[in-house]
């Protein structure tokens, strides 16, 4: 076998069967405005595979009890599935089950850190650093915390490509810095932050590191130990799981010292009329009845991901992303924001407002996001007010990219 034949054989071997994959996602079967759906908005929320939908239906059909409360059959079935879900989530990101706090999403996870750890550790004169790339959910909680505690928020700059300027970041670090907040994969420019390096620099200065993994977790293999961060937050719904689910992983020693934030049932060990004794983490941070079906659905999504070849998925997404960026860059009047490395690409079209673009391509069955994608300061840093964003998941294929490019021609036609 010559080298070329070998390469071809290898390509066949590793190529992803996207047709089969797409059949797992019922939403892709439903035409939109009579057209084949080109769903390019997975960075907003990912579609759900049948395995997740079935898991949620199963909970409400057979395991409909509350968790950790009853001794009857339905409650025990729900508790068993719910506790197993926490174990699976922990394995998925390389943490321990008692380091997994279940939340409503990334936003609630970051707010938990700000309210609990932040109020206990950030005081007047202290500093929190967030990068210029941050989604509002990893920026506004730090603004509010700093204003409340008399602390200062510093912004670590990015270059025109949307990459964190590591030397400038290092220069912001001193012994007043308590916390560094950084997103692993930008939801706008699609750049990947060097978390391990950031964590090493931050730790040397005595600061902890919060990683917003909302985008990264669906595209990169996440191992919290290798990243070296102290907190890692992500949402279930961008990982093909139900909305209203999220995870805060926290280093055990850090979680153990953190005060409660929301209080009530489920998070207490013993209560009398005067006072309550709180449970150990993670339960200390999980007041009230959790999103049981959602969490079990999140575990189903993780199991689903284990059935597909993640290396082949990564290659497929990388190829499609490269093609998307190249085709957009070649379009007249299109400006791609930054130098996207993975999964998302945000762009502007001269003479067309992002909302008009998104409305027009939607009628061709193309779903993309328009606006500032909850990252208004980053848009201003890049010199624009808003953009449109196409984002990928493993179920996207070349036909989706073709549909977007073809529809952009229609945008120019309609608006001139």
């Amino acid at each position: 076998m010559c080298a070329r034949e070998w390469r071809r054989a290898r390509l066949r071997e590793v190529a992803l069967d996207t047709e089969a994959l797409r059949r797992e996602f019922p939403a892709l079967d439903t035409p939109v405005h009579g057209r084949r759906l080109a769903y390019l908005d997975s960075a907003s929320t990912a579609l759900k595979p049948r395995a997740v939908i079935d898991a949620v239906v199963r909970v409400f059909t057979h395991e409909a009890g509350n968790v950790h409360r009853g001794v009857h059959a339905l409650s025990e079935a729900a508790t068993e599935a719910f506790d197993a879900a926490r174990d699976e989530i922990a394995r998925f990101i390389g943490g321990r089950p008692d380091e997994i706090v279940l939340t409503r999403g990334t936003t609630e996870a970051v707010n938990l850190i700000a309210h609990s750890w932040g109020r206990a550790h950030v005081g007047p004169g202290d500093v929190v650093i967030a990068t210029a790339l941050e989604h509002h959910s990893n920026l506004v909680p730090w603004q509010v915390l700093c204003a409340e505690r008399g602390a200062t928020l510093r912004i670590a700059p990015v270059d025109d490509g949307g990459r964190l300027e590591l030397a400038a970041f290092a220069a912001l670090l001193d012994d007043r810095v308590k916390l560094v907040a950084v997103s692993q994969l930008s939801n706008v420019v699609g750049t990947i932050a060097p978390i391990a390096q950031i964590a090493a620099l931050a730790h040397a200065a005595g600061a902890l590191v919060v990683v917003d993994g909302a985008q990264a977790v669906a595209h990169l293999a996440v191992d919290v130990a290798a990243l070296g961060c102290d907190f890692y937050a992500f949402s279930g719904h961008k990982l093909f799981a139900p909305t209203g689910t999220g995870v805060l992983w926290g280093r055990r020693a850090v979680l153990a010292e953190m005060p409660a934030w929301q209080t009530g049932g489920e998070m207490v060990a013993a209560v009398d009329y005067g006072r309550a004794r709180l449970r150990e983490p993670p339960h200390r941070f999980e007041a009230g009845t959790p999103n049981i079906a959602g969490v079990i659905g999140l575990a189903a999504a993780i199991r689903y991901l284990a059935t597909i070849d993640r290396a082949a998925v990564a290659r497929h997404e990388a190829r499609l992303h490269r093609r998307l960026v190249d085709e957009l860059t070649a379009q007249r009047g299109v400006r791609v924001l930054g130098d996207p490395e993975a999964a998302v690409v945000a762009f502007t079209v001269a003479g067309a407002h992002p909302h008009d673009i998104a409305t027009i391509v939607d009628r061709d069955g193309v779903a993309i996001r328009s606006g500032h994608h909850c990252a208004e300061p980053l848009h201003h840093r890049l010199g624009v007010d808003a953009s449109v964003r196409a984002s990928l998941a493993h179920y996207n294929d070349d036909a989706d990219v073709d549909a977007l490019i073809a529809s952009l021609a229609r945008v120019r036609e309609v608006l001139s």
Binding site: H33, D356, T359, G371, A386
Partner: protein
């Protein structure tokens, strides 16, 4: 006509490309600035009201074709009229935009009739109404 062609009618594209009364107004007696939280767009409306009449009106800001065209057409229609007439027009336009897609189009809306298509685009109604809402704030607040 497709829903998109109905939405982006020639009148709307024309006002988006060449807005009337764009820019700042010297000697304004009333002004307001409103954000569209959907997209971070922002619009400022200024008016000079003398002797109970809108002598001059102008708008500036950034926005989509729908919000710019609505602002442009609005300025041409309220200029020279009374603030009360402007309020009545705002109310009529808001009702129109929120009406069923196939409901009759009121005759007295003038060029704003071009917004008939937005009735099929629920998430875009706010874009069409942004300018009028800003004008109402300006009239309520004064300078």
């Amino acid at each position: 006509m497709s829903a998109i062609d109905e939405l982006y009618q020639a009148t709307i594209v024309d006002h988006d490309r060449a807005p009337r009364n764009g820019g700042r107004l010297a000697g304004a007696t009333h002004h307001a600035t409103v954000d569209n939280p959907l997209c971070g767009d922002v619009i400022t409306v200024q008016a000079r009201i003398v002797d109970g009449a809108v002598q001059d009106i102008a708008f500036e800001g950034r926005g989509c074709a729908l919000s710019r065209a609505a602002a442009s057409i609005m300025t041409t229609m309220v200029q020279g009229g009374t603030p009360d007439a402007a309020r009545r027009l705002a109310t009529a336009f808001e009702h129109f935009v929120q009406s069923a897609p196939d409901a009759a189009i009121p005759e007295d809306l003038g060029d704003l009739r071009a917004f008939a298509g937005v009735r099929r685009f629920r998430s875009r109604r706010v874009c069409a109404m942004l300018a009028f809402r800003t004008l109402m704030q300006a009239l309520d607040a004064g300078t």
